[in-house]
Symmetry: D2
Subunit: 111 residues, 4 copies
Amino acid sequence: MAFNPPAMATPSRCVADFSLKPIGTQPSYSQQIAQVQDLLRGSGLKSYMHATGTTIEGTWDQVVQWIGFAHTLIHQTGVSRIETDVRIITRTDKVQPMEGYVASVERILSA
Amino acid sequence: MAFNPPAMATPSRCVADFSLKPIGTQPSYSQQIAQVQDLLRGSGLKSYMHATGTTIEGTWDQVVQWIGFAHTLIHQTGVSRIETDVRIITRTDKVQPMEGYVASVERILSA
Amino acid sequence: MAFNPPAMATPSRCVADFSLKPIGTQPSYSQQIAQVQDLLRGSGLKSYMHATGTTIEGTWDQVVQWIGFAHTLIHQTGVSRIETDVRIITRTDKVQPMEGYVASVERILSA
Amino acid sequence: MAFNPPAMATPSRCVADFSLKPIGTQPSYSQQIAQVQDLLRGSGLKSYMHATGTTIEGTWDQVVQWIGFAHTLIHQTGVSRIETDVRIITRTDKVQPMEGYVASVERILSA
């Protein structure tokens, strides 16, 4: 097989939207999401919180590492199971920052 | 078995965030997302678009039906495969409108 | 606007994979997932459980209604918040039953 | 702030289910999924393909790195946009291998 793992690299850019769910706590977990937001402020990554998740942007390695840190942080508060749903977009056709997605749609809608 | 399907009902409220992906088109599909936004305006449902999806709110039946309409609409434009990722939240502990999720976290962060 | 909601229809077929997460219970929720499997047996829909979800197949309306019934059932057991992550695929290019996806990949791998 | 990023670690174990979608290709992308399966064979990670995704298990860092490699591999075949939906579970209450989830539910159903 021609494939050579050591030569592989992860993408240099991605936009990810993650929805972290602590399982086995109270029905409301805004306390934990606040801790995650606080954590992300220290990441240096651009991030944006919305109703069902948080969008972040950076290199693949940074983005997935910080989501992993968020799991570790919430486990440290006593939550023993966490399930996160992540949507990750990578593109090689152009550099599209996270705010570009909404802007593109709004340009069409207002045309 | 005690379960009786005709007596079942779907939830009276939900918040859903969906990310509709037309497959087999161009890498950029903001044109299709604009059509979906236009469609949703006719739904009477509250909706909010962000970088990786659109959040809507209503009864379970309304919300899932309008996402189905969005599939039909985009198929009608010639897209033959669509994959949508939906996060749906239902709660019986309180009525939480979609904007309540961010507000709860921000209250904690600013405390 | 040319769009006419009463004339819209939801797709006649879909394959959906859903991961239902009861929030605010114990870290293990296999009890609730067993109840959902039991419920689905009464649906008449083809379904298949795997590590992180259950795949079902049918008309759009059936599939999303039964996932809604699953929410109602688990709420009735006392769980006040449920979050479900659903992947839904609709196609107009061909009728692809759920088992066709793995079969297609395996045909290529064994070629 | 007490938080200290350099001291953070990502979880030592996770189960992840990912659904990689090449955008802007043909409606059928089983060719690309076969390439991803082939790639994963070289990872040394346990993996299992089902209708809408592939479940893998390992350390957080391994799992997310190999999903990143899959993006890179498919980009190298000429696909310029890829969207992946990942469900990731981490637990500190017990070591639960991926096959344990279905086994737990089946034990309850057959009781």
